[in-house]
């Protein structure tokens, strides 16, 4: 697919074609401005491609009607570099919020949220506010929020961007665990460290084009 932003001199993504299977763990790497983040936006249908299609879970997202999109997004979890937590809610409430706004009852939240916080290694810290948690812990909360609905796909847009190398590894271990439960993971990053350590499929993008697609790649 091709995506050109208005006022841009060249397309953000130029004739990019990628197939990702269920259960895959894919890294999208490349320099800043190469178009990596655009991929996430396209998958979430925050933007639409100028040419081509985006198919997720066998549904063509490109031409999806706008009122169906919220439902579609419930099958995808997403974590970001800046965590995007709500600052005036506790860790528990942040995760529960994701359930509340899609209509799950408080009872369901009470059951599921502690479970998933335990899973990400934050057992006992449910009542801390984001500013009382370290960067790594905040990202864990974000992962918990993304994962609480057991989505089929987890997107990650530079999740370790604000974290130190050791914490980054911890987060990657967490994502690896999640991947093993069958969740497809698509991660955009320029953290060479973790890419090299994980040895998963690597797709390299440069100036909007794919230059490499290796099954067990390194950052190179």
């Amino acid at each position: 697919m091709t995506k050109t932003y208005p006022k841009a001199s060249r397309p953000s993504l130029d004739d990019v074609s990628v197939d990702i299977d269920k259960g895959d763990f894919v890294f999208f790497i490349g320099p800043s401005g190469s178009g990596k983040s655009t991929i996430i936006k396209l998958l979430l249908h925050e933007v639409a491609p100028n040419k081509g299609r985006v198919v997720v879970n066998e549904r063509d997202v490109t031409t999806m009607r706008s009122w169906k999109i919220p439902n579609f997004r419930r099958s995808i979890g997403c974590v970001f570099q800046d965590f995007r937590l709500l600052p005036n809610r506790t860790a528990y409430e942040n995760v529960a919020f994701a359930l509340e706004v899609i209509g799950k009852s408080k009872g369901v939240a009470r059951r599921v949220v502690p479970e998933v916080l335990e899973l990400v290694g934050l057992g006992g810290k449910e009542h801390r506010y984001p500013h009382e948690l370290s960067g790594g812990e905040q990202q864990r909360v974000a992962v918990a929020r993304a994962f609480v609905n057991r989505p089929l796909i987890l997107l990650a847009d530079e999740p370790t961007g604000n974290l130190d190398p050791d914490t980054s590894i911890e987060i990657m271990r967490l994502l690896d665990r999640i991947n093993r439960t069958g969740t497809t993971i698509v991660m955009v990053t320029h953290d060479s460290n973790i890419v090299n350590q994980m040895r998963r499929r690597v797709v390299e993008i440069e100036s909007g084009r794919i230059v490499r697609d290796q099954p067990r790649g390194v950052y190179g």
Partner: protein, 312 residues
């Protein structure tokens, strides 16, 4: 669960921006009061028209020095058998005072000076000074003529104006027309104020919604990310506007009720003898219209603002 969430969001939203909320309520209240007033005037004018036009008569005022012969002549003439097409002498007894065969005339009544005086006293009972200053003799006697077709006044005027003993022929309808013009103008004025103020209210609603959406942009972003449905995201904001609109309409309603109780039924009571009293039924009708309009307009403006300006 969702209802509680939505309602608590609405409450916090309103409180967070309490100054704007109050401003919204006040502008809505003013606009809706004017709208209500214009509606009331509109209904009242229609009632008046129905009431008075049914009663309206042509008054043939007689000169003070009219002779009995002239009186008799006029009476006979009004009752005279000017046979209209289809009317025979059998169906038109010329002697009966109230039945006429002048094709234009439906009925006539004769009012003596005394009767005029009595009527005057009753009509102006709230103005005793005026009553005392007028003597029974000063009010003219008259024939009160009801026409089949009130629009044919001109013909009656031409016919009877120059008859001996006749002082003047007055079409009460014309007097009423002037009154109705004034009321109509007032009603239109109220409507204009309502519309202008209504525009201000709408802009205020749009602005309040934008501010509210901005201050909750983080929550909204997360909600969209996580897949909350659009109406679920929009609902608290729209409800904030609707709530303000409903309160505004209730204030407007109370204002109009007080106007009825303290103005029309009290200080301006004498006017309500002339203009009919405002029905409580109309006031209750307002209780349905005003909140309905207030709520609907707020909701639509709110939804519109969210959808197209805030892109929620």
């Amino acid at each position: 669960m969702r209802a509680k969430y939505v309602l608590s969001e609405v409450a916090t939203g309103l409180w967070r921006n309490v100054t704007m909320t109050i401003a919204m309520m006040i502008t809505m209240a003013v606009s809706l009061s004017m709208l209500g007033a214009s509606l009331l005037l509109f209904w009242q004018v229609n009632k008046l028209k129905d009431f008075y036009y049914a009663k309206v008569e042509v008054s043939i005022f007689l000169k003070a020095d009219i002779t009995e012969d002239q009186r008799k002549a006029l009476r006979t003439e009004l009752a005279a058998a000017l046979l209209a097409p289809g009317v025979t002498s059998a169906t038109c007894p010329a002697q009966a005072p109230a039945t006429v065969c002048d094709p234009l005339v439906q009925s006539i009544e004769y009012e003596t000076k005394q009767q005029a005086w009595e009527r005057f006293k009753v009509q102006f009972k709230d103005a005793p000074d005026l009553v005392n200053a007028t003597k029974a003799d000063q009010l003219p006697e008259s024939f009160r003529v009801k026409l089949h077709d009130p629009k044919q006044f001109a013909q009656i005027y031409d016919k009877y104006k120059t008859k001996p003993g006749v002082d003047d022929v007055i079409d009460q309808r014309e007097l009423l027309a002037k009154l109705f013009n004034v009321l109509g103008a007032l009603q239109r004025l109220a409507l204009i104020v309502a519309v202008v103020q209504g525009l201000a209210a709408l802009l205020l609603v749009a602005n309040t919604i934008q501010v509210a959406a901005y201050s909750k942009r983080r929550e909204v972003a997360v909600m969209k990310l996580v897949g909350a449905s659009n109406w679920f995201i929009q609902l608290p904001f729209v409800l904030e506007a609707v709530f303000a609109g409903l309160i505004g309409s209730l204030i407007a309603f109370l204002v109009l009720v007080s106007a009825k109780v303290f103005l029309f039924d009290d200080s301006l009571k004498s006017l309500s003898n002339l203009l009919l009293p405002v029905d409580w039924k109309n006031i209750w009708q307002l209780l349905i219209y005003l909140p309905g309009i207030g709520g609907a307009v707020s909701a639509i403006t709110g939804w519109f603002t969210l959808r197209f300006y805030v892109k929620v």
